[in-house]
């Protein structure tokens, strides 16, 4: 029989190259797969049941052997059974799914933070040490990694199928996801939210490495300035230090130790000073006025890029004393006025 050359090739490819399930490369993957197999089980059982019923009845009661139908009204018992059993299964699925969801979207506190900026059509990763990568991500295995992500334009979605994690990357708001890689290797990175022309080219690779390799990699690819140092530079050049001098008597709050603390707001609410809060204060200061201060901080909307904001956030995260701010004070050229620098500061 003449199986064509091409077809044969595909058959071979099928056997050698093609998998039914993606590799499991993160700690969460087995949990995801367990639910998946459970659901496949449910589907198969449900389908087989339905097929058996249809097939069985069709065979048993086909016209040739059962020429006269018997009219049946229904059966409350049967109907109750097939209401309650699927409902039960669905509820189990719900609980299981919910547990998994909260697990994936609640990063552990000790995780290492990497920032991701999505834009049409590339992924930019910024490591705390200042390493930048485009459409790539290097991570050490065995350590929880938290991704803090934001988009510069439209919705994107950061998808790592072998790690079984994915999260939408949204303009104007940080989203987070975490994972812990288990096996060194190179894996797919996709943008899964349709984002315009080159959506399908917004792909890349994530490389999981042994911690020592990762360390080597960070050293090799450092750009000389860490994210926080970069933030400090922006802090000075945007004139933040003109107001945030750190002096208690000053008209602007001290920013040392702000990150992670709870801020008493002027409108009475209490806000956790997380990354999203800091970013939003810089862009929309009058919406987040801490108690005791006048809303005089200018907005930096349109003046600092998302990367710049990330650097500032990272800087403020690590700012424990005002010592260095006061140091730069003397050398800074900026006067008391709000900055007038037009355009973006490109870190």
């Amino acid at each position: 029989m003449g199986i064509s050359e091409v077809l044969w090739q595909y058959l071979v490819k099928w056997l050698t190259n093609s998998a039914l399930f993606p590799r499991e490369a993160s700690t969460i993957a087995p949990y995801m797969d367990a639910l998946y197999f459970f659901l496949i089980g449910v589907t198969v059982v449900g389908l087989v049941l339905v097929l058996l019923l249809i097939g069985g009845f069709s065979f048993r009661y086909r016209k040739a052997v059962h020429p006269v139908a018997e009219q049946i009204e229904g059966s409350t018992l049967l109907e109750a059974i097939w209401t309650i059993i699927p409902l039960g299964i669905f509820l189990v699925t719900f609980v299981w799914g919910a547990l998994l969801y909260f697990r994936i979207y609640t990063p552990p506190v000790n995780s290492m933070n990497i920032y991701i900026v999505g834009k049409q059509w590339m992924w930019k990763a910024e490591h705390p040490g200042g390493q930048h990568e485009i459409n790539e991500l290097h991570v050490p295995i065995g350590q929880p990694i938290q991704l803090t992500m934001i988009s510069q334009d439209v919705f994107h979605s950061y998808s790592l199928p072998e790690f079984r994690v994915k999260r939408e990357v949204i303009p104007g708001r940080y989203t987070t996801v975490w994972f812990q890689a288990t096996t060194p290797g190179t894996y797919h990175l996709f943008c899964t939210q349709y984002c315009g022309t080159d959506h399908s080219k917004m792909v890349g690779e994530i490389t999981a490495m042994l911690p020592e390799d990762y360390k080597k990699w960070t050293e090799l690819s450092t750009s000389g300035m860490s994210l926080a140092q970069n933030g400090e530079r922006i802090f000075a050049s945007m004139g933040c230090n003109a107001c945030h001098t750190g002096n208690a008597s000053n008209r602007a709050p001290s920013l040392a130790g702000l990150y992670g603390s709870k801020v008493q707001m002027a409108n009475g609410s209490i806000q956790l000073a997380d990354a999203a809060y800091i970013r939003d204060v810089i862009l929309n200061p009058s919406q987040h006025v801490p108690a005791g201060y006048a809303p005089i901080m200018p907005t930096y909307k349109g003046q600092i890029s998302e990367d710049g904001l990330i650097a500032l956030v990272e800087y403020l995260k690590q700012l424990n004393t005002n010592y260095r701010i006061q140091q730069t004070q003397t050398t800074s050229v900026s006067d008391q006025a709000a900055p007038t620098t037009p355009g973006m500061v490109k870190p």
Partner: protein, 256 residues
């Protein structure tokens, strides 16, 4: 084109019902696929109500957007809202209620078959409707002059430094918050615009109804069009009854 299917069908050798078929037709407006006039009338008003349901949901989307942004940007919504004129808005509310009142009277007139009264009531409904649109136009024009129409020419200076514009009873707000006044004005224009569009369509229908009423179409017991139009007109009123406090009266009391 009238959809009286049975009559457009010339050959009628139906043995059974030809005679009775036409006995219960009281009025020329009766459609043949309805068994009784009663049925037709109730179908008509039920249909109108269902249409109003879609209108509720249509405006509902806008109302939700309003609710959300009002909570997020309350500080911008207050000065933006205070910029609108309560006098004009309040007058307009009264005008619209009056128009609705005459519409209600028109329905009554049609039901008791007073032709002249019906025509007058409909004309008054129209006039008050037009008065509403005119005042609305004055307001929109005002906002245009002050460059509060959202879009490229939107200007926030009156909110940032009211004193400089001779506005004394407003606190200044910061520029980044003032930007959000644009969202208020967008919602304002979208909601009042959508409302006015409904009014204009309504006024067009009113003119048509007046002509027909003048011809005596509705003075012989056939009131469904008047009744159903009335439902529409009152619904448009109701939308405004909510728009007025939501848009004009966000925070009118003197500053603390």
């Amino acid at each position: 084109m009238d959809n009286s299917i049975v009559t457009t069908e010339p050959l009628m050798p139906r043995e059974t019902a030809v005679h009775e078929e036409h006995e219960h037709v009281f009025i020329p407006q009766h459609r043949h696929h309805f068994e009784t006039e009663e049925q037709q009338r109730e179908a008509g008003s039920f249909g109108m109500w269902l249409f109003l349901l879609t209108e509720i949901m249509f405006f509902g989307g806008l109302f939700f957007a309003y609710l959300l942004y009002r909570n997020w940007y309350y500080d911008a919504f207050v000065p933006a809202s205070n910029f609108l004129s309560v006098t004009l808005g309040g007058t307009n509310t009264a005008i619209l209620i009056t128009s609705g009142f005459f519409m209600a009277l028109a329905v009554w007139a049609a039901e008791v078959r007073k032709k002249q009264f019906l025509v007058i009531a409909l004309i008054l409904t129209t006039l008050f409707g037009l008065a509403f649109i005119s005042i609305k136009y004055v307001e929109w024009h005002d906002e245009w002059v002050h460059r509060h129409v959202p879009g490229a020419s939107f200007d926030i200076s009156e909110f940032v430094s009211p004193k400089a514009h001779g506005i004394t009873d407003q606190k200044p707000i910061s520029p980044d918050m003032a930007e959000h006044c644009q969202i208020f004005f967008f919602l304002y224009f979208a909601m009042t615009g959508m409302h006015a569009l409904h009014m204009i369509i309504g006024i067009g229908l009113l003119v048509w109804l007046i002509l027909r009423a003048q011809r005596g179409d509705f003075s012989a017991g056939y009131v469904a069009p008047i009744e159903n139009f009335g439902l529409y007109w009152h619904f448009v009123d109701i939308v405004w009854l909510f728009l007025f406090p939501l848009l004009y009266l966000i925070n009118r009391h003197p500053l603390k």
